[in-house]
């Protein structure tokens, strides 16, 4: 199943946020979206996932999702969006409650998702008892439980410390390794984008337009190797040179706001 951003333009009142953004996320492909602060990255993701109605243009799907997918487009949120009154397993089961699945089927999906995110021993814990990294693992586990075709990840690591970010990045690489699941990964962090994405969509300053689409010239598996690091660093520098001046302008704009 492909996800297509088709000429998406969006305004919040008088404020133009996105301007004619078009690209395609192929089946199993990971596309990162980067750009200066306020360029409309998260807005674009909300539009792609059907949570926000664009002013013009539309998100479109081409092809069928996998037969067992319960929610083809599934978000992983920056702030985790966990139900604080529910345990880990109740949070993971939450999106399955309204489906036609039996309790036994739901239990099996929850077990599998908890196992894949190494949360099995924390099933009875409440979110407040968990660290930020573990909370985001619950968010990922909940997303995996519905067997998505494409994960929509809105800066999923930005609220975490650097060590936890590194650990979760390794988890993302592992979960996306087999190509069975695609992702749109919104981030400020060019290193994360270069490590995870097949292609990187670089947006301009507001209103966000596509400045460039950069293909990462190696497989994700190869990116852990020593000689790949230099290439990835060069790629990050190339993208940074594209957005640096606009990022400075955006920062000044935020400070003056």
């Amino acid at each position: 199943m492909d996800l297509i951003a088709s000429h998406i333009t969006h305004r919040f009142g008088d404020l133009a946020v996105l301007d004619d953004v078009s690209f395609t996320v192929g089946a199993g492909e990971v596309v990162a979206i980067v750009g200066p602060s306020g360029c409309g990255k998260s807005t674009l993701l909300s539009i792609l996932g059907g949570l926000l109605q664009p002013t013009s243009g539309a998100p479109e799907l081409r092809g069928s999702p996998p037969a067992d997918s319960l929610n083809p487009l599934t978000f992983v949120f920056q702030d985790f969006a966990l139900l604080p009154w529910a345990t880990v397993e109740e949070n993971v089961e939450f999106p399955l409650l309204h489906t036609q699945l039996s309790a036994v089927q739901r239990r099996a999906l929850v077990e599998d998702a908890l196992r894949r995110t190494t949360l099995t021993d924390f099933r009875k814990a409440y979110p407040k008892q968990l660290s930020g990294g573990m909370r985001q693992r619950v968010g990922i586990s909940r997303a995996l439980a519905v067997k998505p075709a494409i994960l929509l990840m809105d800066e999923p690591l930005s609220a975490l410390d650097s060590q936890t970010r590194e650990l979760l990045m390794e988890d993302f690489v592992r979960l996306l390794a087999d190509g069975g699941m695609g992702a749109v990964y919104v981030t400020h962090n060019l290193e994360e984008a270069a490590r995870l994405a097949d292609r990187i969509v670089v947006l301009s300053r507001r209103p966000g337009r596509i400045r460039e689409v950069v293909t990462v010239p190696m497989t994700r598996a190869a990116r852990g190797e020593a000689e790949a690091r230099e290439k990835l660093l060069a790629l990050q520098n190339q993208i940074w040179s594209l957005i640096r001046n606009e990022a400075i302008d955006a920062e000044r704009e935020v400070q003056h706001a």
Partner: protein, 273 residues
């Protein structure tokens, strides 16, 4: 090579400890402090009364008040008055709460209900509900109904406000999360909005319990034969200040008991906080 901390730290006459400046401004109280203070006040009160420093007609001693409560209890009058008040509070509170929760949720969830409901609530909430009792007596007669209706009205507005404030305070990201999984509206209300609004709703219950107590006493003072409010008024008219204060103590104990009950509910239902 890693630096390691030296085993001995050199100190001289100029070495001094950094002064601790972080004390205070912590909202914590000692567990028994309040009870001890209360006991001291009662002891002083009793001592002053026993020593004849205070006229018992104006302020009877705590012991006299306890005796009055005991006599009320063994005579059966306590239960007669208390049960009348409890029935009015119970029915009025339940009716007002049920209506308030329904209207509060409607205002919290529906744009139309919000625009209509908030206008009416803003206009009617400030009216002292006891002022409506004569009108309610005119409409409903002189029985229990106007007293219960007064309590229900008072409880309704506070409940509706706390419920829609609670619904408004539910984090939007949780609702968006549920929508992103195609969770139906009714399930979002049941599984996200209701538990998310529950802290505000229970806080509202604390307020409405006090409102109900206030209104039942006021309503009983205006037109009732039985009830704690009627008993207090009657005792005051007869200058039976020990009986009057016995009624006040019973009201205080009732308020405390309701507070404890709501506290227990909060511990049970909001253990996740």
């Amino acid at each position: 090579m890693l630096d390691r901390a030296p085993a001995e730290i050199a100190k001289d006459a100029a070495t001094r400890r950094v002064r601790f400046r972080g004390a205070g401004f912590v909202p914590a109280s000692s567990r028994y402090g309040g009870w001890i203070a209360l006991a001291i006040v009662i002891a002083i009160w009793q001592a002053a009364g026993s020593a004849g420093l205070v006229n018992a007609l104006f302020l009877p001693t705590p012991a006299a008040i306890v005796r009055a409560i005991y006599q009320l209890a063994i005579s059966g009058a306590l239960w007669q008055h208390l049960s009348a008040s409890l029935l009015r509070i119970g029915v009025g509170w339940l009716l007002g709460t049920a209506a308030g929760v329904a209207v509060g949720f409607a205002i919290g969830l529906s744009r139309l209900a919000r625009s209509v409901g908030i206008t009416f609530i803003s206009a009617l909430f400030p009216i002292p509900k006891i002022a409506l009792l004569p009108l309610l007596i005119l409409w409903l007669g002189i029985g229990e109904e106007p007293k219960i209706a007064t309590i229900a009205l008072g409880v309704f507005f506070s409940t509706a406000i706390s419920v829609y404030s609670g619904v408004d305070a539910v984090p939007r990201n949780l609702i968006r999360m549920a929508q992103s999984f195609n969770v139906p509206f009714a399930t979002i209300v049941r599984k996200v909005i209701w538990p998310g609004a529950l802290p505000a709703i229970l806080a509202g219950f604390r307020i409405t319990a006090s409102v109900a107590l206030l209104l039942v006493v006021s309503a009983e003072m205006i037109g009732a034969q039985y009830g704690i409010g009627a008993f207090v008024l009657q005792a005051g008219n007869l200058m039976q200040t020990d009986q009057l204060l016995a009624g006040v103590v019973i009201l205080s104990v009732f308020g405390l008991a309701v507070g404890k009950l709501i506290g227990w509910l909060e511990v049970r239902l909001l253990h996740w906080r």
